[in-house]
Symmetry: D2
Subunit: 179 residues, 4 copies
């Protein structure tokens, strides 16, 4: 069975470096052929992001919510995720990302805002019902020259985390029968 | 194989209600016989919590870090986890909870501080390398009369989340071979 | 001298209850005749909020940054401020609200997200250089029937806080000469 | 009138670098002769920090709460303030720091945790009723060689912020008479 994977990019400018980092993370995280990737570049939808109702936006929200794994990627704006990404997430009802495995990803100038993805974007995604398998991923510009290495290390950590979570999952399976 | 499970209680008063809620959550989450549970009531260790070095504290830190699943339970003090719980976590080096599946749990008077476990304790545990499979669990005093029902619902959500994470984990397994 | 005061409303729907609460807070906080109030309802500007450059948006950003006191008011969306408010704040450069006294205000359904203004909007405004004279103000729908009383109490607390800050300010004035 | 000023140090090791940075900040912030400074090094009180009741601790809590200005200084542990500092703050009832002007200060190894004082310690102090006149102050080890310059710049920013807050305070004074 093929995994449904999405990259959601919150940069108001399209085709950003942030998008490329997120796509690279997916390619390091999953084995070729095991997944279908779609990219949602929110920069392409600024005209309708505040329209309500909007069939187009509802379809995009639904597609993200039905994914198995989503990388939510944003440049760092004022220490945290962009208003554009938040505006997209605001369209969900409570618990709208239930069951989605989510990876928060911020890019930034230097390490000053390295706490952002773990301390600001991650709680937001979790509030919506998503599960985040570890730290948020933060990439400062200063590490662009060894991007592949840094992303590979992060992917290895997520894979290790997921393997450990699967062990715990196995022990909870039978518990679904009420005691 | 039996799962190693711990409850770490950060209430400066021993044998607290917070501890009971955490133990109940474990019993709803896992099937009988599938795990070994140990409880670390930090109230029993206030005398040594700031001692450095301390063989006793190091042994306790190690036992928690070697667990598969840990519920970190704290009453709400000033909107967030207690200083006692933080003092225990402060003893770890960076990444000291790597590989541990952690559930943040706060009890409180009412819903005013319901954001606490997801927005304050969860990022702290993740900073230490733990994985949190969903929201933090918050229990207000006003729900004590239907405790079992509330805890059962939370446990069901964690089980569902873990099952979904296991699906994603399965797709990442083969990716551990470098591309 | 008249104080320049603004209310910035982050609700995508115009003329919201959130706006009324913010205006009421200003009327309780300041004495009549001591200030000029302007309201910026961001719902009126969704079409240009992501346009770059935009003379109209730049003028609005400048007007807010030149104010003495600004109430940043938002309904609670996903436990925190709206993407629309964040999109407006994203347009500032670093330190863009330097010198502005800011009051974070969230409205919400109940007390579940009461930590929002103090733990999420306030740090964001401070990151931009603003000063927040105390807690963020949170108003749940359940208190709308005694709105005036609740807002009056919050205003009294801000006034008390500002008076105390002025005492400290007085002691630092002379220190501006290097020791 | 002389300002009552305190430095509260949350490092479990006494006489730390963190303490020195906090004392230097006070000396840059206030003019000589305008204040009385007392330092509370919590490392000296680890034996009683969890004792309840404790006359000694209550007296220390009261002294801090009666201060005009307090610098709460902590090394960065796990991205945020220490458990020792939190344990001291936990002893207060709700609103226990009402009316206190507070400056959150973290020291750290590098810029990775620079968001800590503004995004974690500041909301905690505000939750207790304190007012924070601007950003939290973060000092990485890498800036120790130009400590005086960095601290002087931070002090100048706080003085500017306090002067602006005093302007707003002046406009709210008359409003204390009900409309």
């Amino acid at each position: 069975m093929s995994l449904k994977v999405m990259v959601v990019v919150g940069n108001p400018k399209p085709a950003s470096r942030t998008r490329k980092v997120a796509e690279l993370l997916v390619s390091h995280l999953l084995s070729p052929g095991s997944f279908e990737l779609e990219v949602l570049d929110l920069a392409d939808h600024v005209d309708e992001i505040f329209a309500w109702p909007s069939e187009k936006m509802s379809a995009l929200n639904a597609k993200v919510a039905e994914s198995d794994l989503v990388v939510f990627a944003s440049p760092t704006y004022k220490a945290t995720y962009t208003g554009l990404l938040k505006a997209f997430l605001d369209r969900y009802p409570a618990n709208g990302l239930a069951g989605v495995t989510a990876i928060p990803l911020h890019t930034g100038a230097d390490f000053t805002h390295a706490m952002g993805p773990t301390f600001t974007l991650s709680p937001l995604l979790v509030e919506l019902g998503a599960m985040v398998p570890g730290r948020g991923f933060y990439l400062p510009l200063s590490q662009m020259d060894r991007l592949d290495e840094v992303v590979a290390a992060a992917a290895a950590e997520y894979r290790g985390n997921l393997a450990r979570l699967a062990t715990v999952a196995a022990a909870t399976t039978d518990a679904s029968v009420p005691a």
